[in-house]
Subunit: 259 residues, 2 copies
DNA sequence: TATCATTTGTTCGTATGTATC
DNA sequence: CGATACATACGAACAAATGAT
C-alpha cells in the first residue's frame, strides 16, 4: 500500500501517513479511523507499531481514541468560548464583565486558608509562606458544557486594611471590585496568561480530553499605588476556550521588561 | 518495595508512585530518575509497563527523557520570558513595544501571497479565500534561546487603500503602525490568546520539548471605524514564555460576547 | 580514535482484560 | 451473548545515543 521511508522510525512513517491522510481530507473530522487491525494490514506493520503511531497522533491532539469504539479525527474546531477579559463599570458603580454571568457554580465554593507559594507570592509581591484567604470554585458554562476552575486569593495583610474582604472570601470578583472602590480605592488590573499540560486532578475535574493544554490566567487587582490587593486565577481547557484583550496605545515611553 | 493497588492499570500505579516520589522531593528537579531496568526491579514489573508509566509522565510534562542518558525531572520553573503585550507611542509618533527589541531574526523573513482561511478570515472580518500579503519570521531571544514564529497578514483590500503597506510586507509591526498613523488612521488593537499542541514542524522549528503547548496570539490592528487592517500572529512555546496584559475599567456597559 | 557498558528507542510476538454495540 | 476494538501486560531482540575507558 502506502509505503514511505523518510523520517526513520517505522511508527513515525505510519503516523506521518495517517496525519497526511487526515489533513488531506481522506479521513474526515469526526469520522472513525481504520481499526488497529486494518492499519496493521494497510501498512504491513505489527500492532505495537500501529499503536505507537496512534499514540504519537494522540499526543499531537490530532485524534481521539475511545475504548471499544475506535479512533476519531478530532474536529479541530476553533474554541467555542471567547473569554473577553475586560472590566466595565456602570454609572451606579457596579462592575460588569463580559462572560461574567455565563458561569454557573457546579458545587459550593470552598473557602480555606493557605500560604503564598513562590509563584503566587511573586504575583502579589509578597514573600513565600505569607498567609492568605482562599476560595475555590468549579464553574460550568451550561450552554457549551465548558468547565473552569476559579480561585480567589486575598493576603491577610490586605484583609487587615479592608476587613470587608475577609468576611466572605467567596464573593464574586465584581463584588470585591465594588467593595474596594466604595472603600476609596482606585483599581487597575494586570493579567498574565500561561499554558501548560493539566495535572491529573485538573484533567479529571475539567473533563479534559487527551493532549489538551489548559490556559492559566492570573489576574491581579492593583490599588492606586500599584500595590497588589487580590489574586484571581482561572484555569480552563484550551480546547474550548480562548481569551481576548483590548490594547490601546498609551503615551508613556515603554520600558523593556524581563522576569 | 512500594506496592499500591488502587487506580487499576499497573502502569498507572507505577506512574502514580513515581509522580508522588517526584512531588515529595525524593527525585529532585533536574536529577536523573532510576533507569528503566532499575524501575523494573523496584516495582517488579516488565519493561513495557515501566515504559508505559514513563510515557504517561512525559505526556503530563513532568519528566523529560533523553536517548542514551535517562529520564530527568523537569525543573518546572516559571517561564523565563514575560511578553508584555502593550503598545506605547512617543511624542515623535514612534511606536514602542516592550519586548519589541529583544527578538533577533534567525533567518531572512519570507514574504509570500496567501488567502484567508476560515480562521484568519474571521479575525479580519473577511470571507474565506480572500487574497493576502504575508510575511513569516523566525525570531530568537538570544539571552534565553527562546524561539518564536511571527506572521504578518495584510489583505489586498487594505493594501489598495494604503499602498504603502504592500510595498514591503516584511516591515516590523511598529513601522506599520507608524505608517498607518501618519496616513491619518487612529489605531486600536485586540488580541486573542489560544493554546494548543504544536504541529510537528512547529515543534521542530521552535525546538520544543515533549508535552509543551504553544501560546498562539493573534493581534488585529483596527482602524478608527473598527475595521481590521492587519493581522499578526505570534507563536511561542509555553514552557518559556508567558504573556501579560493591562486591563483598565471603562465606563461603557459591557455586553456579553460569544463566538 | 576506537571500543565498551549503559540506557533509551524501536519492533516484533503473544496473551488476556474490558468497553461498545 | 458474541463480535469487534482498544487497553494492558509479558517476553525478546536489536538499533541508536551517550559517556567513559
Amino acid at each position: 500500500m502506502s509505503e514511505i521511508q523518510r523520517p526513520g522510525a517505522l511508527y513515525q512513517q505510519v503516523a506521518a501517513a495517517i496525519r497526511e491522510a487526515i489533513l488531506s481530507g481522506e479521513f474526515a473530522p469526526d469520522s472513525l479511523l481504520p481499526s488497529e487491525a486494518q492499519l496493521m494490514a494497510r501498512y504491513e506493520v505489527s500492532r505495537p507499531t500501529v499503536r505507537n503511531a496512534i499514540a504519537a497522533l494522540r499526543a499531537e491532539g490530532l485524534i481521539d481514541v475511545r475504548h471499544g469504539k475506535g479512533s476519531f479525527v478530532r474536529s479541530s474546531g476553533q474554541p467555542v468560548l471567547t473569554l473577553e477579559r475586560r472590566i466595565s463599570r456602570t454609572t451606579e458603580g457596579k462592575f460588569v464583565m463580559p462572560n461574567g454571568d455565563i458561569w454557573q457554580e457546579a458545587e459550593a465554593p470552598a473557602a480555606y486558608r493557605a500560604r503564598t507559594t513562590k509563584d503566587t507570592g511573586h504575583l502579589l509581591q509578597l514573600d513565600t509562606d505569607e498567609a492568605l484567604f482562599g476560595c475555590d470554585r468549579l464553574l460550568i458554562d451550561p450552554s457549551t458544557g465548558t468547565r473552569a476552575m476559579h480561585r480567589t486569593l486575598i493576603p491577610f495583610e490586605v484583609a487587615e486594611i479592608v476587613p470587608l474582604l475577609a468576611e466572605e472570601p467567596c464573593k464574586r470578583p465584581a463584588a470585591f471590585y465594588r467593595l474596594l472602590t466604595e472603600d476609596g480605592h482606585k483599581l487597575s488590573w494586570s493579567e498574565t496568561v500561561r499554558a501548560r499540560m493539566p495535572l491529573p486532578d485538573e484533567r479529571a475535574t475539567m473533563k479534559l480530553p487527551d493532549a489538551t493544554p489548559i490556559l492559566h490566567l492570573a489576574r491581579v487587582t492593583h490599588d492606586t499605588d500599584n500595590r497588589p490587593l487580590i489574586l484571581e486565577e482561572l484555569r480552563v481547557g484550551a480546547d474550548r476556550a480562548e481569551v481576548s484583550y483590548r490594547i490601546t496605545a498609551d503615551k508613556q515611553p515603554a520600558r523593556r521588561a524581563r522576569a
